[in-house]
């Protein structure tokens, strides 16, 4: 069997089933998520590259150990993001001495999505937002940062965010709505330019 060809046509669930039968398939699952999860960890926590790799390795081990617990009613991506989220938080707790502020890397696409949702139309306002969004997001409450990261940076929908953070969809909607208000408030605090 040529696993190198087959695995490309498999979806995540099929790869999970195959991994449970043959652990060699696990590398394909890891390859699919390696970059995404590494980026997600960096966005969640301001930790060294060494820590990022430690967390990622622990995520992959935990995912493998608990493969039989994977609930097929969820997306595999939601499940592995949940493990990553929890593992990152656990790791941050262990590193008590280090700050646990979010490390928000913002590109133009992300900022545009946020601007659109915040109903910011003036070009000057957009530029200001682009320049200061990182600072603004770092100042809002962590529970809001988490949903903002998942919604705007990881491009997850409400159901996925609900499954990752283990919160009801309604709570996710409320958190996002409050997060937007907090962001606007923070922006206004820094510069009273938003109408």
């Amino acid at each position: 069997m040529d696993k190198g060809i087959n695995h490309l046509n498999m979806d995540d669930q099929e790869l999970v089933v195959s991994t449970l039968q043959n652990k060699d398939y696990y590398q394909y699952l890891m390859k699919r998520y390696e970059d995404k999860l590494r980026r997600y960890i960096r966005r969640l926590a301001k930790v060294s590259e060494e820590d990022v790799e430690d967390i990622l390795q622990e995520v992959f081990i935990k995912t493998y150990v608990n493969l039989n617990a994977f609930d097929t009613s969820l997306k595999f991506s939601s499940w592995i993001y949940r493990i990553t989220h929890n593992e990152t938080i656990t790791h941050l707790r262990k590193l008590k001495s280090r700050p646990s502020t979010f490390n928000l890397e913002l590109n133009e696409i992300i900022v545009n999505k946020l601007q659109s949702d915040l109903n910011i139309e003036k070009e000057a306002d957009k530029k200001y937002l682009q320049a200061n969004m990182g600072k603004v997001l770092n100042n809002i409450d962590k529970k809001y940062q988490e949903v903002v990261v998942l919604k705007y940076m990881e491009d997850k929908d409400y159901q996925e965010i609900s499954d990752i953070l283990k919160k009801p969809v309604g709570t996710v909607a409320v958190l996002l709505s409050r997060a937007k208000k907090e962001i606007k408030k923070e922006l206004l605090k820094n510069k009273t330019f938003l109408s």
């Binding site: 449970l20 590398q27 890891m30 390696e34 081990i61 493998y64 039989n68 617990a69 309604g170």
Partner: protein, 246 residues
């Protein structure tokens, strides 16, 4: 950047790591549901005890027991059981949240369902007389319990206010019997048979409570007379019927 995938596979190989079996995870999930169910059942027992205590309370003679109906309600509510019920509801909520799909539901919904289930099941337990006499058992075997729950015996042990309770030790005639109160004092009680409204006739060994007046040193003239725990006999007879061997 380190080769995380390679390192992970190496670690899996070296430490002989394998996925935990499916039953391990299922067992964990079932355990949370079992604890959830147990919390609801215990909550239902607490509810049935609350109903029992409220139903057993003599609301119609509140003017003899307390100065006002409000004071009677305030002092008679079984707060201990309300606290126990609340704790069990929250325990049920935390167990439900730990299940695989528990997070999908609003906390208010889970708490609401837990309360409704406990109340409904508690009412079923009470009305089917399957309450197993929790209050009676605790009252008789756990000394601190009576100080935590407003005790019928204590409330009805105030001859100065016309309240007396105790055990019938001898029936002298149709309108007189001897009673031993909870302090061991023996009373001659005078009453009218028409005051006894129970189906079961007054008998030796029965625990009763009365409103009336003291005459002399050890005579008590009855105005109102009834069993100490009005539902007890009914409960016991029904329970005996259910659990007696065929």
């Amino acid at each position: 950047m380190a080769d995380t995938i390679k390192n992970t596979l190496k670690k899996i190989e070296e430490k002989n790591i394998a996925p935990k079996p499916k039953w391990h995870h299922s067992l964990r999930d079932y355990a949370f549901w079992v604890f959830f169910g147990l919390s609801i059942i215990l909550g239902a027992c607490a509810t049935s005890t609350i109903i029992y205590l409220l139903a057993n309370h003599d609301w119609d003679v509140h003017k003899y027991l307390h100065e006002s109906l409000f004071e009677d309600i305030f002092t008679s509510l079984p707060y201990l059981w309300f606290v126990i019920l609340a704790l069990l509801v929250f325990f049920a909520f935390f167990q439900a949240q730990k299940t695989r799909s528990g997070y999908k539901y609003s906390p208010y919904l889970i708490v609401g369902i837990s309360i409704i289930l406990s109340l409904l099941l508690g009412a079923v337990i009470f009305y089917s007389f399957l309450d197993f006499g929790i209050h009676e058992f605790l009252s008789n075997h756990v000394p601190i319990y009576n100080s935590l729950v407003c005790s019928e015996t204590a409330v009805w042990n105030n001859v100065g206010s016309g309240l007396l309770n105790g055990e019938v030790v001898a029936i002298k005639s149709n309108d007189e019997f001897t009673l031993k109160d909870c302090n061991g004092k023996v009373w001659q009680v005078e009453y009218d048979q028409s005051q006894w409204l129970e189906k079961i006739p007054l008998a030796v060994g029965m625990k009763i409570k009365m409103v009336g007046t003291q005459e002399g040193d050890n005579t008590f003239i009855v105005k109102i007379i009834r069993p100490l725990e009005r539902l007890k006999k009914q409960t016991n007879s029904k329970r005996n019927k259910i659990f007696s061997p065929a």
